[in-house]
């Protein structure tokens, strides 16, 4: 059965690259362009199996979105994996505290992305 994953990134190129990596293992990728757009998708789409989220984005960054999602109580079990150029320990701790399940540093390797997504959606 196809699983649906939401990719939140302000770069359309990154969203497409993630889609290209995950399509062969049966994921349908839906896209959002920033944290505001991402939150709307999560609130409206009960079929999502997972969220992949950038950190630095206009309007609302990924960590703010994650904290708003946690505070709202919407989809508490939905796994969120951060995919970002950032790698500061303080940011990882903040993401973990807000409920993120993992962190990947860009530029990503397709095999590592696939393995991590499979692990978090198993």
């Amino acid at each position: 059965m196809t699983k649906k994953i939401l990719v939140i990134d302000d770069s359309a190129s990154v969203r497409q690259q993630v889609g290209l990596a995950l399509a062969p293992i049966g994921f349908e990728v839906v896209e959002a362009v920033d944290g505001v757009d991402g939150l709307k998708h999560i609130e409206c789409d009960a079929q999502l199996s997972m969220v992949l989220c950038d950190v630095n984005m206009p309007r609302m960054n990924g960590l703010e979105m994650l904290e708003k999602l946690r505070d709202s109580g919407v989809r508490p079990g939905l796994p969120v994996l951060m995919l970002t150029t950032e790698s500061q320990p303080a940011l990882l701790k903040r993401a973990q505290a807000a409920g993120a399940k993992g962190w990947i540093v860009k530029p990503f390797k397709a095999n590592i992305l696939v393995a991590t997504v499979q692990k978090l959606t198993a």
Partner: protein
């Protein structure tokens, strides 16, 4: 420490960041001495920290942007990919600076496009340098404008401030 020494150190870190990024995508940059042809596209991204702050511009021609696009498996457009590459260069540079006790925050990139583009960074005290590469016969450049603390020394390296390496993953 002299301005030249600090700028040399920062320029090496920035250049390494860009060369490593292009290598990650399976291509290779070759350093050249002079800009060739016209520049049409620039992705500009700012960074700020207590010890060092500035702007990096990834500047190239349409042909250079197409060559950069071809290193990735799929991209939306030359402009979108140039912005993302500038973001990834700064992400790498941020890790290198954090490892040298000079943490920075990075901004959101923007792209400008125009015929015979000239990017000139003008802030009092700003030190500017340009590094130029050949990629598949095209010209790609990084322009760095930077303000630095007088005693900034980027020669010492520690990895305490890096939680995950590039391309790596951690599951909480």
């Amino acid at each position: 420490m002299s301005h030249d020494k600090r700028l040399d150190q920062l320029t090496v870190l920035m250049s390494d960041a860009f060369e490593q990024l292009v290598e990650h995508y399976g291509s290779k940059l070759t350093r050249i001495g002079e800009l060739r042809g016209e520049l049409d596209l620039a992705a500009i991204i700012g960074f700020s920290g207590e010890r060092v702050s500035g702007t990096v511009a990834l500047v190239t021609s349409i042909e250079g942007a197409i060559a950069l696009r071809q290193i990735a498996p799929v991209t939306e457009s030359e402009a979108d990919w140039l912005m993302e590459l500038s973001n990834q260069v700064l992400g790498n540079l941020k890790r290198k600076l954090a490892a040298r006790a000079a943490p920075i925050s990075i901004g959101i990139p923007t792209v400008i496009q125009g015929k015979r583009l000239a990017v000139r960074l003008m802030v009092p005290g700003l030190i500017v340098c340009t590094q130029i590469w050949d990629l598949a016969g095209t010209c790609v450049s990084l322009q760095l404008g930077v303000l630095m603390e007088d005693d900034l020394d980027l020669s010492f390296e520690s990895h305490d401030e890096i939680a995950v390496v590039e391309g790596g993953a951690i599951v909480f």
